[in-house]
């Protein structure tokens, strides 16, 4: 009686799990790991431990199983499956299952005859011999612990002629601490002057862009020219731009690297090298960044009350000319939760260009479309960002939560998605720029109205409605400025008379605008 069902069960389980008996490191797991993990998880790279040999992978098997199930690794944030990205690092469900089966089977090594050859990597620069290697100015010591550090470093360059850049490749020294870096172009030497002002190499905080005169549009580290030269993200492979595309590097400019460090537990010294690969000639058509909302959301007057869980920022622009979209990527700080960009074509068809449902400041990548996407004139590009400034968001930089407004420091917020496009020819670039400017003007007018209702009106600071404005109630970046000037009795509270003076000051920001 009892044997029959169990026999059937045995047979069934045998049918359901033929894999686990056969999955071995040498035959199945090594190729998977070498293809997807070893690029970063090998000596000299940014992955924290190496994943090359059987012993390496066995030791980390349970952790790997967890992080791939969680899709924390390999790092890849977009969740939309409608498009193919050239640099996609997602594992398939089958690959994740295969690894799980191997763990279940007790991580067998398998037949040594079937062991794959260890992958070979170029020992020098990934992209081969660079045209130019530059070293950052000075050395910066990253402490063993403490808060994350944002700092910009100057790579003195000042070439005598304009150049077009196909690719850059970074070699950080503080490998466990460098989380990511963005490369900007400073065409007027502002960064050189700011460098080292606090007695250490580099420029503190995220504020460099605000002050560097050359960078008219901090929008894109990716468009070249006044935009920048791309970024360095762990897990991303350096690649040259396709076809004849290249990023503009004007003569006489320096490269500035905005770096995000995670202290790693030990002291490290940063002294990075940057390799540049030049194009032989200017591209036929330039890359154009379209950032929505512009200026990282400055025009949206981001102003998120403490406790607000679902603060939405939306903005859109209509393409005046047809373009080919090359890549997409976003930027925001800690409390942004979701980020998306959609394109609604004139015929009503809607394409999700990027959909991130769990934004993470740590993994700011650019997602390149496998095939450039044709977007006709009249296409509406729309960005949507959602922020959570509640205590239940573990990434909230403030405990308890505080009002967070737009700003460039890490505990301020920003937010935008940038689509890199190529127009039919360079004559169309101005048309796109005009559309962006018009959009910016209307958006800015709205923002001013919004701001005058919110943070440019001192009454709105009074979160607890007690008629007084406490120090904590003033948005962070305005706090010290306002209190040093207007808190005449120095009690860290703005009383009625003091509020009147503050309001006059805030009005002066807007000239006549506020009265409208």
């Amino acid at each position: 009686m009892t044997t029959r069902p169990s026999l059937a069960l045995l047979l069934l389980s045998g049918l359901a799990m033929p894999l686990s008996a056969k999955v071995t490191f040498n035959e199945h797991i090594a190729p998977l790991i070498h293809e997807n993990c070893t690029g970063c998880h090998r000596p000299g790279q940014t992955g924290p431990f190496k994943l090359i040999t059987y012993r390496d992978v066995k030791k980390r098997a349970l952790t790997i199983n967890d992080v791939i199930l969680d899709r924390y690794m390999p790092p890849w944030k977009p969740v939309n499956g409608n498009l193919h990205y050239a640099n996609d690092r997602r594992l398939s469900e089958e690959e994740i299952d295969l690894f799980g089966e191997w763990v279940k089977a007790g991580t067998p090594e398998g037949d040594s005859k079937k062991a794959p050859k260890l992958p070979e990597y170029p020992s020098g620069w990934y992209l081969g011999k660079p045209d130019l290697v530059i070293k950052m100015k000075g050395k910066f010591e990253v402490p063993a612990d403490g808060k994350d550090i944002y700092r910009s470093f100057v790579f003195p360059l000042q070439l005598p002629e304009d150049k077009w850049v196909k690719a850059v490749e970074l070699r950080p020294k503080a490998k466990s601490a460098v989380h990511h870096a963005l490369f900007f172009i400073d065409s007027n030497g502002a960064a050189r002057k700011m460098d080292g002002r606090d007695g250490k190499a580099g420029i503190s905080g995220m504020g460099f862009l605000r002050q560097a005169g050359g960078v008219t549009d901090p929008a894109a580290a990716f468009g070249g020219g006044n935009g920048g030269l791309g970024g360095h993200v762990p897990g991303a492979t350096p690649a040259k731009l396709p076809g004849d595309l290249a990023m503009f590097l004007p003569k006489g400019s320096d490269v500035v690297m905005q770096t995000h460090f995670h202290p790693s537990g030990k002291k490290e010294v940063e002294e990075a090298e940057l390799a540049l690969y030049f194009a032989e000639k200017a591209p036929e058509v330039n890359l154009v960044p379209i950032q929505i909302p512009p200026f990282f959301g400055a025009t949206k007057a981001i102003n998120i009350p403490a406790g607000e869980q679902n603060y939405v920022v939306e903005d859109s622009i209509t393409l005046p000319v047809p373009v080919k979209a090359v890549s997409v990527g976003g930027h925001a700080h800690y409390i942004c939760r979701t980020m998306s960009m959609t394109a609604t074509l004139p015929d009503g068809k809607k394409i999700t260009l990027m959909d991130i449902d769990d934004w993470d400041l740590d993994w700011q990548d650019r997602y390149q479309f496998k095939e450039p996407l044709d977007l006709p004139a009249g296409t509406v590009l729309k960005t949507r960002l959602v922020y959570d400034n509640s205590a239940s968001n573990p990434e909230n930089p403030n405990s308890p939560p505080r009002r967070i407004t737009w700003g460039q420091e890490s505990d301020d917020e920003m937010g935008s998605v940038t689509l890199i496009v190529v127009p039919e020819d360079n004559s169309k670039i101005q048309t796109i720029a005009d559309a962006q400017r018009n959009q910016l003007i209307s958006s800015a007018a709205q923002a001013i109205q919004q701001a005058s209702k919110t943070f440019l009106n001192v009454k709105n600071y009074d979160d607890n409605n007690d008629g007084l404005v406490q120090y904590e109630e003033v948005p962070g970046r305005m706090r010290s400025r306002i209190f040093s000037r207007f808190d005449t009795n120095k009690n860290k509270i703005l009383e009625k008379e003091e509020q009147v003076a503050v309001q006059k000051y805030l009005d002066s920001f807007l000239g006549g605008f506020r009265r409208r």
């Binding site: 924290p48 431990f49 190496k50 012993r55 066995k58 030791k59 980390r60 098997a61 349970l62 952790t63 967890d66 992080v67 969680d70 924390y72 690794m73 007790g106 991580t107 063993a144 612990d145 808060k147 994350d148 466990s176 995670h262 202290p263 790693s264 537990g265 030990k266 800690y334 993470d360 740590d362 573990p394 990434e395 909230n396 930089p397 405990s399 505990d411």
Partner: protein, 197 residues
Amino acid sequence: MRLLTGISLSCFLCLTAWGEPGRNRGPSSLNHLKLVDVTGTVHEPVKSAKTIAAVFVYVDTTCPIANFYQPTLRRLAQAFEPRGIRFFQLHPDPDGTKEDLTTHAREFEVISPVILDNKQHYARLHNAKVTPEAHVYLRDGTCVYRGRIDDTYTTYGKRRPSPTTHDLRDALSAIISGSKVTDPVTKAIGCQILIEK
């Protein structure tokens, strides 16, 4: 060999206590415990009458989460060693070498004894799951805390700007003040320890 047997026996005796802090009391479990660190120094935590508890922290040389906590562990050791709490860092790494651990301890400025547990002997006994994970025992072998150091990490790759709980520190403070540890078991986030057969 005799040393090893001593350790096994004493740990076997307190085995019932593992994993269930505060429930069982092993008979003088720390009494015969002798730990040999990577420099060859033998540590007998209860030899000093001042010792009131021992903290065994499971760590790893390349686990980024374990490494992230090294400065915190150093500060905790500095604060609590003078008050009779002994800190030990254990590496349950079958491929670990004394040389690697020594280099790591120097780079991360580890001030506690570092023990290579490459046979995963202690990891098995303590039922250690993750690096970093702290296991706290009183002199009499009562396990009073096991789990995370604090709540900086909420999951892999998600780190709070600063912790909102200080679980290990609070547990040690409770021991010193003679009060009950309020949260004797917490879930540590980190690199999972694979116990080899």
